[in-house]
């Protein structure tokens, strides 16, 4: 029951700000049914854009539509739809009355952008709290206006009443601000938390959350009417192209301006070691980049030849070591073991290989700057542009516009800085788009790694020791966001210092081994600075490679003790949710226990099944892969996948299905085809021929998904977890089919044939 004193305070606060009519200026793009002009702006009477204000999160517009201000991002997986569902739920309005604003630093607080599948896990919580708080405040306003106690009022579709008298949200506050405080924890990014006085609904009361609603962005993309970041055009805008050296690490020492003299309007921009061309017409900028003659410094070839990559990782000195899991005395138990099983697994550098190379547009004018970026972290992009230009962040506006795919820290963060540098140098707005060779060649890569796993068995075959060691390039040679120029190509070329973060990761599972250790050792990057083999986050950073190793090895253990891989895992997992997904996947797949692989011979196509599972930040997923292996050609086809998926409460099951399908297909592509190639000079996989990904002939026949909806839990993450067990499940299926254990990814035809020949 609301106390009168609270009501008085709320009313006073409301009156303070409710006089100002809202003016629309420089409105952001809305997703949903609303038009941008209808949004309310921060101009008249709006409190500052800080997380401790309700108005920073939610607004009731004059027409009764609701705007939710989301400080994370949706990159095409429907996170914004889920946010609209959650806000509609708490406010008791229909789903289609809610619009979502995201990706604009002038309108949204920094909740960390797209990051680690936390869009709902972390990002939705302040929105849920704010929507509940807005409803509470509106009910109190209605109680005052209708002279009915708040406890007797009900809300139906944004109309508050007691059955006799009623008033709508729009009538109460439409087009005006709440001016109601929220309690904020003072943090920005992923850790930001904000709560109001209202208590959000229980899951048992949900009617909008848990249902299917369509994505906002699909029609515009399908009818070709969506503007991408590549489509931003400003008056006076120049097109820019960057010039990269053939030998990584080389810097320009001479430029022949005459080499592009015949190209209309083309000119050179050079600042320290950064070199680019700009032109009025895009094709002229491209031709100028192709024709420009640059003399490069005589830099030493920075890389080992590719066939020495894993030896390099094995032998290079460790810069950092850590043991995130340490239970019992592993070394002692290994020493006492009747039998020790050991294996080593290898994973290559992989590329984001986004559908288009990155693009960004920047305008620097009157001491202020605006950035249009496809980056999944536009707030941090804003901070990075401010830093590289030497401007206060408040004088830079970052605006996200859909980009050509985003699965982590891809090349978008680099393009943003390049555009800023070129815009300042030319005094004109500049649109930088990379060429394909830069998208593949110079994006930050997922780190290459080796994983050495040992287990000790006692005389009865019980696992008494388990030791998992990764040796790898750093997880974050460059950070997962571009807020510091040191983490971008332009920043390094302009002299910003190295800030490599020497960390890696460890398996995410609940196997109950009495003596258990997870360790990692991190080695130096091959080249410090603007390197085509910089490492950073690619979808489910480190998950596919680590879980490929750990789940392959668990299968090797099961084989060693003559156990069925499903039964063996169920015997060992401690977490009941892990057991539930393993059981659900096996059941749906019609798993038949097999203590030994089928090991089909002959020269034809053989079939096998494998299972793998992984946790990820509160979610847990099991995957059964069914593969065909053509023994003659070495081709592996991931024919069928069965996925059991527990990500807590399911907000939108239809979209979740499609997200999981995408993860399985991308995970399959990475397991079978993807490997960055390089020579001593630079990366050599610079297009789709050099870096093939899965195409339609190799698409699975079916992906069957079981969602374990945990209504008692908040939503966890789904954007990445199902990527994680795919490679392990495929490797285990190949073993079942052929009896051959593949310990190096990707599982290319040549590698499969080579392995089969050795048996």
């Amino acid at each position: 029951m609301t106390r009168l004193s609270d009501l008085a305070i709320a009313r006073r606060d409301l009156l303070k700000g409710s006089g100002a009519l809202v003016v629309s200026l420089s409105a952001p793009a809305l997703v949903g049914g609303g038009r941008a002009e209808a949004a309310i702006s921060p101009v008249a009477g709006k409190p500052g854009l800080t997380p401790d204000q309700l108005d920073s999160w939610v607004a009731v517009r004059a027409d009764g539509r609701i705007t939710a201000y989301f400080g994370k991002m949706d990159m095409g997986q429907g996170v914004d739809v889920a946010i609209a569902q959650i806000v509609a739920e708490e406010l008791d309005v229909p789903f289609d009355r809610v619009d979502v604003v995201m990706g604009d630093t002038a309108w949204t607080v920094n909740q960390g952008g797209a990051s680690g599948s936390t869009g709902l896990l972390l990002g939705a919580i302040p929105l849920r709290n704010a929507a509940a708080e807005a409803r509470r405040v509106l009910v109190e306003m209605a109680a005052e206006k209708l002279e009915v106690p708040a406890g007797r009022l009900r809300v139906v579709d944004g109309v508050i009443g007691d059955g006799t008298k009623k008033v709508s949200y729009a009538e109460l506050i439409g087009g005006r601000y709440f001016n109601v405080p929220m309690t904020w924890n003072g943090k920005w990014g992923n850790r930001l938390a904000a709560v109001g006085k209202a208590k959000p609904k229980k899951a048992s009361e949900y009617s909008t959350v848990g249902k299917n609603y369509p994505r906002f962005d699909v029609p515009g993309k399908v009818f070709g009417t969506t503007d991408f970041v590549t489509d931003v055009r400003l008056p006076g805008m120049l097109h820019g192209r960057m010039i990269r050296p053939a030998v990584a690490g080389a810097v320009p020492v001479g430029v022949d301006a005459g080499s592009i003299r015949d190209i209309p309007g083309a000119r050179i921009v050079r600042e320290k070691d950064l070199i680019a061309v700009v032109a009025e017409k895009e094709w002229d900028a491209i031709r100028a980049a192709q024709k420009l003659k640059v003399t490069w410094s005589d830099a030493p070839a920075p890389f080992p030849s590719q066939d020495k990559l894993y030896d390099h990782i094995r032998n290079a000195p460790a810069v950092a070591r850590k043991s995130p899991v340490k239970t019992g005395d592993v070394d002692k138990a290994l020493g006492a073991a009747a039998r020790v099983i050991e294996a080593e697994y290898e994973w290559p550098f992989q590329s984001h290989a986004s559908m288009g190379p990155a693009c960004a547009v920047c305008e620097v004018k009157d001491g202020k700057a605006t950035l249009w970026t496809g980056s999944q972290k536009p707030h941090y992009g804003r901070d990075g542009v401010a830093a590289i230009l030497g401007l206060p962040p408040d004088d830079v506006r970052g605006i996200w516009v859909p980009g050509p795919g985003s699965y982590g820290r891809n090349d978008a963060g680099d393009a943003a800085m390049d555009a800023a540098v070129l815009a300042r140098a030319t005094g004109r707005p500049v649109r930088v788009q990379y060429m394909r060779h830069e998208g593949h060649g110079w994006d930050p890569k997922a780190p290459a790694s080796i994983h050495r796993v040992r287990a000790g068995l006692d005389a009865k075959g019980n696992v008494i020791a388990y030791d998992f060691l990764s040796r790898a390039f750093p997880r974050l040679d460059v950070a997962s966001n571009e807020s510091n120029p040191s983490d971008t190509l332009a920043g390094r070329l302009l002299g910003h210092p190295d800030k490599t973060n020497y960390v890696f990761g460890n398996p995410a599972e609940s196997y109950d081994f009495a003596n258990k250790r997870h360790r990692f050792e991190v080695i130096r990057p091959l080249l410090s600075g603007a390197s085509p083999l910089r490492t950073s986050h690619l979808r489910d950073p480190l998950g596919p490679q680590i879980q490929f190793a750990s789940e392959s090895f668990v299968d090797e253990l099961a084989q060693a003790v003559g156990a069925d891989p499903v039964e063996f895992r169920l015997r060992l997992v401690k977490d009941s949710r892990d057991g539930a997904v393993i059981r659900a996947a096996a059941e749906k797949a019609g798993w038949k226990p097999r203590p030994r692989p089928h090991r089909n011979g002959g020269n034809g196509t053989v079939t096998g099944r494998g299972i793998a599972y992984a946790q990820r930040n509160g979610s847990t997923v099991a995957v059964v892969a069914e593969v065909d292996v053509d023994r003659a050609s070495g081709r592996v086809w991931g024919r069928r996948f069965v996925v059991a998926h527990d990500c807590g409460l399911v907000v939108n099951p239809g979209e979740l299905h499609r997200v999981i399908e995408g993860n399985i297909v991308q995970g399959l592509s990475r397991a079978l085809y993807e490997e960055v190639t390089f020579d001593e000079r630079s990366v050599t996989s610079v297009d789709w021929v050099g870096y093939p990904i899965l195409e339609s002939p190799d698409v699975p026949l079916s992906i069957e998904i079981v969602l374990l909806d945990r209504r008692e839990m908040p939503p966890k993450g789904a954007g990445e977890p199902s990527t994680r067990p795919v490679a392990g499940a495929i490797a285990n299926a190949i073993f079942d089919a052929t009896g051959v254990r593949i310990r190096r990814a990707p599982f290319t035809p040549d590698r499969i044939k080579g392995a089969l020949r050795q048996t």
Binding site: T226, E282, S354, M355, G356, G405, V699
Partner: protein, 156 residues
């Protein structure tokens, strides 16, 4: 080397003064300010720049603008509208196919051309007919569902 080139795009005739060897993609994007198709690779390897030229899916990044004078060019925008969608677009929306959507021109226009010749493709024909296109988000399962659905719409 610049000359006037006349293009028929989505039913309208337009002229551009360009180097006739320049790829059609830049005439559409830079001279005619059209937001589709997209630059994906500039090498004809991905399909993001696809347009229909006389009904045939064509990589505009590899097609000299001077070579398509007098031919009917259709971009994704010209294929259909929300009010009057092409069956492939209708099916894409109903199946909620795309994620980032940057690849849509290639997949949608290629499927439209394929279904125009054969509205009931087999699973193998769909796989082969769409080979050569890239989708990094991995939406292929939904793409296949949409193509089959579009075939059913076209068959009535």
């Amino acid at each position: 080397m610049t000359r006037r080139v006349s293009l028929t795009v989505n039913g309208a005739t337009k002229t551009v003064d360009v180097d006739p060897d320049m790829p059609l993609l830049y005439a559409l994007r830079d001279d005619l300010k059209m937001n589709n198709p997209h630059f994906g690779c500039g090498l004809g390897q991905c399909g993001a720049c696809t347009v229909l030229v006389n009904g045939e899916p064509t990589r505009s990044c590899q097609t000299p603008v001077g070579s398509v004078e007098g031919r009917a060019i259709v971009t994704l925008v010209g294929l259909g509208t929300p009010e009057k969608p092409h069956p492939v677009q209708q099916a894409y929306v109903e199946e909620g196919v795309v994620q980032c959507g940057y690849c849509a021109s290639g997949w949608v226009l290629t499927a439209a051309a394929m279904l125009a010749k054969n509205p009931k493709p087999s699973d193998a024909q769909i796989r082969d007919g769409l080979a050569g296109l890239k989708c990094r988000c991995g939406t292929h399962m939904a793409i296949f569902r949409a193509v089959r659905r579009a075939g059913r719409i076209m068959a009535g």
